[in-house]
């Protein structure tokens, strides 16, 4: 027990932002209370996740952002039920209306009388769905490749680093635009795959770095001595210690994906009608002239709001998942 304990303490201090809580395989459940730093103080035993939750909830901006983002996501999910009009519903009696409370045209209408509030709701649905899909795919591929490269290093690592080098020599947006022409675009799913194919390399680099340093730690050595196989060491001993940085990075990918997808769709290489996406809506609005400012303004504001919320949540998560940070943020 004492050896396990000391290696666990060492890990918590030496790996800094990397270590997330205790190594679940090395420390029996309930040991968290004995390990707490404040000796002599009668403290309630808390799991690492309850500490994380506590620290996150103290980060007010992140909590507010999370609430707003959840609301936006709900609007997206229930767009078909909530939207006052259909996505492509043409109403020639209400063309080019400024934002008004009448008939629920809060975001105005375009030249065909399509209600932009409804269109934005459907746009949120597509854009958020694509962004989450991209983040999940990029994280899974990136974690898998990064873990293998970092754990075995050598040839696999070399190959991975050379591949990511290639990705780094050409501007990302240019690659995406070319890839969109290659795969053909328009469909949200295809656009999502193209984005994920570019973004996984960043995850792989980070996970590789984490695995590279963690595999030298004593608890890995101990697991090896106890006869654990490579796969078990990677999944049960190292990966749980990487969850923090991976989760933070994943939230950042969601924000990046929203912004990049919007740019692609705006340039006409991303998601195209009849699929609604926020970037495409801005492009639509822009083509109808800048005098109808509301068509450009509102979809863009929603993008800014989503990206802002995700960035704040990422900030809050980073603080919450960092066990070296004892100071509670007001």
């Amino acid at each position: 027990m004492s050896e396990r304990q000391s290696s666990d303490m060492l890990k918590a201090t030496t790996t800094g932002g990397v270590a997330l809580g205790s190594d679940p395989a090395a420390v029996p459940a309930g040991a968290g209370a004995e390990l707490s730093f404040e000796s002599g103080v009668d403290m309630k035993a808390r799991s690492q996740w309850s500490y994380v939750r506590m620290r996150f909830l103290r980060h007010r901006l992140a909590v507010v952002s999370l609430v707003i983002l959840l609301l936006i996501a709900l609007v997206g999910v229930f767009a078909p039920q909530l939207a006052p009009y259909g996505y492509d519903e043409i109403n020639l009696e209400a063309t080019g209306q400024k934002p008004t409370l009448d008939d629920w045209h809060l975001f105005g209408t375009d030249q065909l009388g399509r209600d932009y509030l409804s269109r934005v709701m459907f746009g949120i649905r597509t854009s958020l769905w694509v962004a989450v899909m991209v983040a999940l795919m990029a994280t899974i591929i990136g974690t898998a490749v990064g873990a293998v490269a970092g754990y075995y290093s050598g040839q696999v690592d070399n190959l991975l680093m050379r591949v990511t080098d290639l990705f780094l020599t050409v501007p990302g947006l240019a690659v995406l635009l070319t890839a969109s022409v290659f795969f053909g675009s328009g469909d949200p799913f295809k656009t999502g795959i193209i984005l994920a194919l570019l973004l996984w390399t960043a995850v792989a680099r980070i996970v590789r770095g984490l695995f590279l340093s963690l595999r030298e730690k004593e608890f890995v050595e101990a697991a090896k001595a106890a006869g654990a196989g490579d796969v078990r060491i990677m999944l049960r001993h190292i990966l749980p210690n990487c969850v923090g940085p991976i989760v933070v990075f994943m939230t950042l990918i969601v924000a990046a994906a929203i912004l990049i997808e919007a740019a692609l769709s705006f340039l006409g290489f991303g998601i195209q009608p009849p699929n609604a996406a926020l970037g495409g809506l801005i492009d639509d609005g822009q083509e109808q002239g800048l005098e109808t400012w509301w068509l450009v303004t509102f979809p863009g504001l929603v993008i800014v709001l989503i990206a802002l919320c995700i960035n704040f949540i990422g900030d809050g998560l980073r603080d919450a998942l960092d066990p070296t940070q004892r100071r509670m943020r007001a």
């Binding site: 501007p171 990302g172 947006l173 919007a262 800014v304």
Partner: protein, 324 residues
């Protein structure tokens, strides 16, 4: 150091060849550039055949790559597929225009970001610090193309309300820009909005970076030593802290070049500026593989050079860094 640079250069050449082959395959498979001609009614099939043969489109991809490589290495990148327009002169022209835009925007952005970052770090948790943080969060959450459109909307709205046109909202010059000084005044006037758009994202990134690196330096031991020996505060911040805090920023600015080009693509499209970004998008839309290839290769070379410069600058500025 020299051997390090040479090794890096040699490695870069290998990377360039690999990238170019991958990209070429990618672009070549991406679709039939003559598809539009084929469906045009009354278009002579013999002409299509002639174009195919002239450009070796009927050959397998490695052979086509070899032909392309021959043109690229000779330094002129050949001609466009349709219309046989030489690519290099066009590329030079748009590069010059883009360089001007990017140079002005980046120099201004770095200057402003350094001032903001340093001041925010010295007055940590002050109102200024919080405003700067808010600004950079906003700047990073804002799609570049949307910011550009909103500025255009602003100009149009002001014009409709008062009849004055604050800034031109498209192209690089007026139809009749004049000559000499007049020409450059006209050009500067046209560049105001695009430069602002490009600056916002850069300032947002750089100022946060500068603030973080300044905070780290200000709390370091040697700054405490400088204070302890009785140096006045101005000298401590300007000579001891500021100079060292600048080092990481130099690297960041050099490494940010690829990301910057993304912003350029979007900005130039919105403002229809005759630069690299618009050239790239237009080439993609016409499905012409050769200008796209030339563009990607030129930018790849530039990015590799900037990465190398970043490493070299780091080695020179920070004596703790040694390359074997």
């Amino acid at each position: 150091m020299l051997s390090y640079v040479v090794r890096r250069l040699l490695y870069s050449i290998v990377v360039l060849f690999a990238t170019s082959f991958l990209v070429f395959t990618f672009v070549s498979v991406s679709g039939d550039p003559l598809a539009a001609l084929r469906v045009t009614p009354d278009y002579d099939p013999n002409t299509i055949k002639r174009i195919e043969e002239q450009n070796n489109l009927d050959k397998p991809i490695p052979v086509r790559y070899a032909y392309w490589l021959k043109d690229a290495v000779r330094g002129d990148f050949g001609t466009t597929l349709l219309g046989d327009r030489p690519i290099l002169p066009d590329l030079w022209r748009v590069m010059k225009n883009t360089f001007m835009l990017v140079f002005v925007a980046e120099v201004l952005a770095v200057l402003i970001a350094v001032v903001i970052g340093v001041y925010a770090a010295l007055r940590q948790y002050s109102a200024f610090d919080y405003s700067a943080t808010t600004f950079s969060f906003l700047g990073l959450a804002m799609p570049v193309f949307w910011l550009a459109l909103m500025l255009q909307v602003l100009v149009v709205t002001v014009y409709e309300a008062t009849g004055t046109r604050l800034f031109p909202i498209s192209s690089l010059s007026s139809i009749d820009p004049g000559t000499g000084v007049d020409f450059w005044i006209d050009r500067a006037h046209h560049l105001v909005l695009p430069v602002i758009v490009l600056m916002v994202a850069s300032i947002a990134t750089y100022s946060r970076y500068m603030r973080a690196s300044m905070l780290e330096v200000v709390n370091s031991d040697y700054v405490r030593t400088a204070r302890a020996k009785g140096l006045d505060e101005r000298k401590v911040t300007m000579k001891h802290a500021f100079r060292n805090a600048l080092i990481p920023l130099v690297t960041l600015v050099a490494l940010n070049f690829g990301g910057l080009l993304g912003g350029v693509i979007v900005t130039e499209t919105v403002f229809s500026l005759d630069g690299m970004g618009l050239y790239f998008v237009t080439s993609l839309l016409t499905n012409d593989p050769y200008p796209v290839m030339a563009w990607l290769m030129v930018t790849a070379v530039m990015i590799i050079i900037f990465n190398l410069l970043a490493d070299i600058a780091y080695g020179i500025l920070d004596p703790r860094v040694r390359y074997e």
